[in-house]
Symmetry: D2
Subunit: 337 residues, 4 copies
């Protein structure tokens, strides 16, 4: 941590900051520059948590030099993590595709989808049973009934299953049925939910919030890991910007940035990022070329009649075409698929 | 709802859309333009919820002409709402100021603050007992102990109290102690929490999400009202933009926009919007001049040692100076204070 | 300037950076922390301009501790600047209102407007003769003919006049007719234009770019001042965000932030910020309450038929009502009007 | 164009709009819905340019159903355009790489770079002679001297050359030396410059503005094409968002969106988009996989000493490694390289 003083800071203002730092058992390293004086803090900065140095006289700003997340930080854990979901490993050199409907609507819909995506090469079945919808008048999900269908689909196809959870209730139900929990974009900073998901020990897919910085996202993952659950996979799904041609703006740079800052695997969801079916294929290819460990792709037997997000869902034929085109690219990128 | 067809749309594509609309008992009004044909849907559009018309052949885009929120919509409820919190009325022609510490730290801290803000003119005491913090290593709040202090402060001062809730657990505790629930920015689209808050019947302060559009915000309020609880007050607290001189960007336009689109009262939180103490006074004045029904201002007996957000908290002297300057402005704007 | 090294940076990497700094005649102040080593640079940092230290081995990041703008910086020029436009002074304790049509359409339109706004209290006449329009098929302005009408309006009313310039050609024409040049949002980083505007010596109104940070804006003003022309007034006119209820998002915080960081006066343009006539009054009041030195307000004799931005233009009656409401507020804020 | 009336709009308000539309020789198609009435305009909408219908009584909003750009619109020009730059064709099935230094610093620097990038497979040499820099105190470019070196480099290597222009002066100089003009992000809406660049007849590389929507970008290209110059290539180079881990956010979705909306070729500049050398390779691969027609990559003989943007420049070895990895990917995507 560095404290930058204002130009012409009084000597007593500098001394005051020095005293506070030293009173916490830390060392204050003072560097008097031509224009400004800066004070470096040496030692465990958490001891300064109950101090708001920026409001002391003559303090210009505080600059953090280390990240606040530790467990998710690659600096302290250089090896990439491999996360097991059932018998599937994410981050271990394979390209892992999660696919399925935005919302579970019926057993028939889900089973048909599970068989189709398995045949096309997907390794994990996704399906929403608790749907966070902007309007209270939109379809909200089948809840536990949907989870039961998920489990049935796993039993029939052998695919591990993942479902979004939106409350402690939903977590308590989901742990009985699914292999991986998903925390959606809108709940990325629902810290209570993160902790509860962490406690289950199940692998957690943590979607990036619509306006979350990468640092906030990694701090959110830290909430899960700090509960003793290191099984976190990140999912980039588009951020909110001024552009309206796509529903969100896929931040493809997040893939190499996460690879540099963290050891956690990262997958990409082009369906939610764009909201437009025609852009799913080019952006899937793009994500794999950028180094993503996997993809999350929405599919539906009849997208025109999907109860949620049909406009971005692929038909089974389109999904099969996508995986066919992904194979040589995955090979080129050194990923098994 | 209007369906815009692509140029040179085939006649059969137009007919297909027409058939779908009519099959739902709605009327399709076709207008063949020079370049494009548009189809207006007449009737109850919710019947089309299970249809994703945008992916049918030759459909260019779907344009919504009515808002999806109804209960919060001024079009159907022209009179401004007045929300009672204890004996205080928000939206009824008074300027209502909620003030207090970001986090409740101790009984002494809270009581000192309660007395100071009451003396300076604040009508409601705020205090955080459940703190959503970006990092899991930051102070997370006193939880139920904090709520008890809030109740004690109300008993001593007569001020109604408001506290943020972040989970069903927190709601269940809070209803025993406080007069108003706050849903924070990070939980604005935690729809489960919105519904549970709605069910309590207590007035709810709904903060705007960091990247929420005004339409999404009003839709979120709709979740609360749809539970039979019309007692919602909105709070603008800054949105996320590229600007970094302030923590967030206060969207002051939200005040007149909400006044036009909704009957719900709106207050402004300049403390969280800027994160900088020096900007709280000018932005408070600015909010009142824009027509806000109230303010939420953070105060602390010793901001330099606050456990949360000290850099944006006012001292009691600064708060008193602020309310002194607000009085003639409130009068000028026709608001009692 | 501070160089933050990576954890476990090799001693030779630290030494390499130290050598580079010292080879430029600067002093490197090394502070070895628990986790990371930081190097402070003492001396004239511009000597390091031809060095990209961030790509040397083991360098984590570079942190600037001083702003790159000097002439616009309040740290080196604590007194607020007063800028003269004809006989009007901006920043000297008066509330200065510039008003007029978005585009000059005819002599009649402009003269009628000039008389009306003068009567209502405006001190400067604005009018666009060179219109930057998103589409090439929209009305592009009367160019020099428009400037002649501006001059005629000044002669008839005595109001100083301001006009946007979009090229060196336009500047060369404008200096013959107007009292103040305007650099529009889209040209805020047209550095060539900034320099040419600076050379004229005329006062310049510099609008903030749609996605410009406050630091970039002040750096842009530096281009003008560095040409020996200190007569710069800043104009906040909304930034681009995800919100679509208003055309742009008025960043009202820019007013106190600029007051703190710079000595230049700042005015606010609520017409362009919102694009909606109904929001102009509340946001004008809001800007004055936040401490703005003036306003820029679009007016038109018949907004419904304006060739540019009619939807945000006030009628003469509306403008008169606005100035009437501004008077007591200006008095309250200690501003003459 | 559709006019959406407010609920309970008076019959006379509807009639008034109808009359205005018909007075322009257009047809008004009225559709009275359950909640609102909408009016479709049939005919040439440009006749309504001098009407601001949104401010008439009872009008809720105006919805555009057709794009304002025509010449760049794929709807009216379904075949993808092929743009010739010297003997290189962009958009014709090859992957075209432009490379070179951010700023031309000396003849030696430029020639060394030209030879190195040619050897590695680049087809066009880029180099900046007029540098738009945020601060007036940063290196501003060699201007015409730099252009002369560009021409010399072309003569020695046969590579066509491209240079950014920032003023009419720069255009007048550049046409004597270079094969393609570049309009930078900061000048994307410098409409005067766009027209002047259009008049030269030279191919123009139009970079996307930092906060430009795709629609505005295509409208900007329309300014060039409307001058009779169809030789426009678009360049996505990152937009401004709240994320700070990268300098800008590369909007990779722009590639498929542009391919759908326009016939113009699109290339991607990962150097400016991220500002970080380590992210250039993954994002280059990503762009090609998304379908980009080419790349613009900054290279420098000694990035640590580059006078501009060294932190994002590749060494010759890094560039060669990049092109080596791009070859099999280009082949997979069906592009010659």
């Amino acid at each position: 941590m560095i404290i930058v003083m204002k130009p012409q800071a009084k000597q007593e203002s500098i001394q005051r900051i020095k005293n506070i730092i030293e009173s916490k058992g830390l060392y204050a390293h003072i560097s008097a520059g031509k224009e400004v004086t800066i004070i470096g803090v040496v030692g465990d900065k958490t001891r300064l948590q109950d101090q708001n140095l920026e409001i002391y006289e003559d303090v210009d700003k505080i600059v953090a030099v280390t990240e606040s997340y530790k467990l998710a930080n690659r600096k302290f854990h250089p090896e990439p993590s491999k996360i097991k979901v059932g018998n599937v490993v994410i981050g271990g050199g394979s390209l892992v595709i999660m696919s399925g409907p935005c919302a579970v609507e019926s057993k028939e819909q889900l089973l048909a989808t599970a068989h189709a995506i398995k045949k096309a090469g997907a390794q994990i079945l996704r399906g929403g049973a608790y749907k966070p919808r902007t309007s209270p008048y939109a379809f909200q999900g089948l809840e536990e009934e949907g989870l039961m269908y998920m489990k049935a689909a796993r039993e029939e196809t052998g695919l591990p299953v993942i479902c979004e959870v939106t409350s402690l209730n939903a977590i308590e139900a989901a742990v009985k049925y699914v292999d991986m929990l998903q925390i959606g974009a809108r709940n990325m900073q629902n810290f209570y939910l993160l902790k509860e998901a962490g406690k289950t020990g199940l692998p957690v897919l943590l979607k990036r919030g619509l306006s979350a910085t990468i640092d906030e996202w990694l701090n959110a993952s830290e909430y899960i890991i700090a509960e003793g659950n290191p099984n976190v996979v990140l999912c980039e799904r588009g951020i909110r910007t001024f552009e309206t041609a796509t529903r969100n703006t896929l931040d493809i740079s997040a893939v190499p940035v996460i690879k540099e800052k963290s050891h956690l695997p990262i997958i990409v969801d082009p369906s939610h990022a764009t909201g437009v079916r025609a852009y799913v294929k080019p952006l899937s290819l793009s994500a794999v070329a950028a180094g993503a460990d996997g993809l999350m792709i929405e599919t539906h037997p009849d997208p025109a009649r999907a109860l949620s997000d049909g406009a971005q869902s692929l038909t089974f034929e389109q999904f099969e075409e996508l995986t066919r085109e992904l194979r040589p690219l995955a090979a080129l990128m050194g990923k098994k698929f």
